[in-house]
Each structure stands twice: as C-alpha cells, then as structure tokens.
Symmetry: C2
Subunit: 211 residues, 2 copies
C-alpha cells in the first residue's frame, strides 16, 4: 500500500494553533451534517468566524482542510484521556469501548457522526490522497487494538494460537459496519449486534473458553 507522507505542520503560536483548531473543528461539524461534498470552504470560514485570509493561511485548499479533518478524527480515537479509548487490554476494556461506541450512537440518535468510516464512505473511491490518509488512520487504530490483544495474550488470557491480526480487523470492521447500518437505519440495534458478535469471537479465544 502506498503511504502518503503527512506534510510537517508549521510551528504555530498558541494563538495560531487555537485558530487552526477552531477551523478544523468547524469543518468537522459541517461535514458531519452535510458531508464533504456539501461543505464549502466559505461555510467553514463563516462557522469558524475567521477571515478568508486567515483560513487560507492555514489551509490553501479544501483538500488540505479535509486532510486535517481526517487526521483529527483518526487522532481523536487514539488520544489517551479520550474517554472512548484507554488501553484495550482486557475483556472488560473491550466491552467498555464497545459500550461507549453504542452510547455515542444513542446520544446522537444515530445521526451526524463524522468518523473515519463515514469519511471513507464518501471519499475513498474518488480521492486517492484521502483514501490513503484514512487507511493510515484505520491502520493506527488497528495497531491500538492489536497492542491490547497482544498484552492479553502475553498475560495468558488469550490463547497463543489466536490470530490477533484477524481479531483486531474483525473488531474494527464490526464497529464500522455496525455504525454504518445504525446510521442508515436510525437504530442502534445493528451496532449492538455487531459488537456482541465481534467480542464473542475474541472471547472464543480466551484460554478459559470452551471449544
């Protein structure tokens, strides 16, 4: 897979960073509501309350702005302290993580999320740079899950013959597919079902599991 190098961010003053963050946050919220295609640079500028020249100082194209949104969404799920993800290194932590994802859909009425999956759905097919950025986000996410599963195996909680890569990918797929179905059907049930299935699959490799 081609990995696109992330351009090095310029050093920003605290004030510059705050302005940049405000722009990316406004873009993320608008994309959650209207999709990438339905979000114009001018809408973002107005929502962030910045001038055109300020916006272009940080982002010289819509593509650059979208890229920052992708990075933000990829990071947000990985940030330590983010309530949704701590270390995913026990069955309890995995269940809590799944419950938090479900709770998030309940809170938003299964609407208006701007996550890597919805960005992928809209951008991957057409836009190679976005696809590659989102793929990198998924990879980092998968590695986070993999780290947790490895810790569980090393502590003797998961069987030595468990294919941890497969477990991590199936959990991530279940999350993305469950969110996609829940947001399309406006019901939280698909995500609940997919999380139950994915966690049960991981649990079937527990050393104390029967079978």
């Amino acid at each position: 897979m081609t990995v696109t190098e992330e351009p090095k961010p310029r050093r920003l003053t605290p004030k510059g960073r705050a302005t940049r963050d405000r722009i990316v946050e406004a873009a993320t919220e608008l994309i959650a509501r209207n999709g990438v295609a339905g979000t114009g640079i001018e809408d973002v500028r107005a929502a962030a309350g910045v001038s055109g020249s300020q916006l272009y100082h940080y982002f010289d194209s819509k593509q650059a702005l979208i890229r920052a949104v992708i990075t933000r969404q990829a990071d947000s799920v990985l940030q330590p302290g983010e309530p949704r993800v701590t270390a995913l290194d026990s069955f309890e932590a995995l269940r809590a993580w799944a419950d938090a994802a479900i709770e998030r859909q309940v809170e938003t009425g299964c609407r208006g999320d701007c996550n890597l999956g919805s960005l992928a759905g809209e951008l991957s097919v057409r836009d190679e740079e976005s696809r590659s950025d989102i793929a990198n986000g998924f990879l980092r996410w998968k590695d986070l899950v993999l780290d947790g599963l490895r810790a569980m195996r090393d502590r003797g909680e998961l069987r030595a013959d468990a294919d941890l890569e497969e477990l991590a990918l199936s959990l991530l797929s279940a999350l993305q597919g469950g969110v996609l179905l829940s947001q399309t059907m406006l019901q939280v049930r698909p995500l609940e079902a997919s999380m139950n299935a994915a966690l049960a699959y991981i649990h079937s490799f527990a050393v104390d599991a029967v079978g």
Copy 2:
C-alpha cells in the same frame, strides 16, 4: 422508522425498459468510479448513449436516477439466480456467500464497487430520501438472511434460544464494515477477518457447538 413509498414505475415497452436499464447501469458504473457527488446527469447521458430528452423521459431529476440506482443495487443482491445469493439456509451456503463477497473484492482489487454500503456512506447523512431507500434495502437484505437462519433453526441446526435478528444484523454489519475497510485499505484481509468472525459467531449457536 419512516418508510418511503416507492413510486409505481410506469408500464414500459420492452424497448423502453431496455433504455431505462441502460441508463441506470451507466449511472451505477459512473457512481462506482466517481461517487454520487462526482457523477453528473450529463455524464450519465453520454455514457448511456441516450439523448437528454430520453433521459428526462425516464428520470426527471438526479435524485430520481439515484433512487433507481439504490433500488437496482438492493435488488441485485436479492435476485434469485444471482450467483452471490441463493437461499442462505445452511452453514455451507453462508460460507459460500461470504466467499463470493470476498472473491468480488479480489476481482476488483478492492476498488470501484457501488453497493448499498458505499451509497449509504455517501448519501445517508445528508439526504433523507436516499437514507430511507437504502435502509429499506438493508432491511430486505436482513430479512433474506433471517429467513435462512430461521430455516436452520426449524431444522434443528441452530439452537432455539439463538437471537436470529442479532445474528442476521451482525453478519450484515460484518459484510459492510469489512468491505469498507477492504476498499479503504486496498486489502481483502479485513473482509476475510470480518466474515470469519461473523460466521464463527453464528456457528457458536449450532446445536452441535460446544459452549
């Protein structure tokens, strides 16, 4: 959930139906390559080799055309005779169905699919009518899986206490999430993993399963 009534299609002559099909097929192919936002009515007209007045005779708006694409994609997976779906009423049939979905990604290099999931990713957030149409497609699909699982339970192959609704939803979520990840990461591995997990979960409710 609000169910949008599908407008009754006009009676078409065989020639009219062929023209209409050609237009929808051209639109489906263009959307697979360029997304809905990247596909214009004029592109579709040119690709289908019809005149503007012919196109407008069948579809008076882009929305009407998109709706026809959604219906076509929802139907295609349900059509009897479609190699990908026969009756999903045995473990072998479910595995064959999963393998066919995986094979399809291998054939296309994980690119350029226009399925309900990718349509949902691009359209659901912004466009209520499309969301509702796609949700109906998913529901019909889920019912197809549910019919098969019910037959398996009635034959005593699945335990009586299995939550068939949950099994069907988790299988569908795994498919959608696996395809999304595979198409974003350009690897078939995520779909393989998610299908293995979903089928293993169903299998854990087999009457002869341990546990």
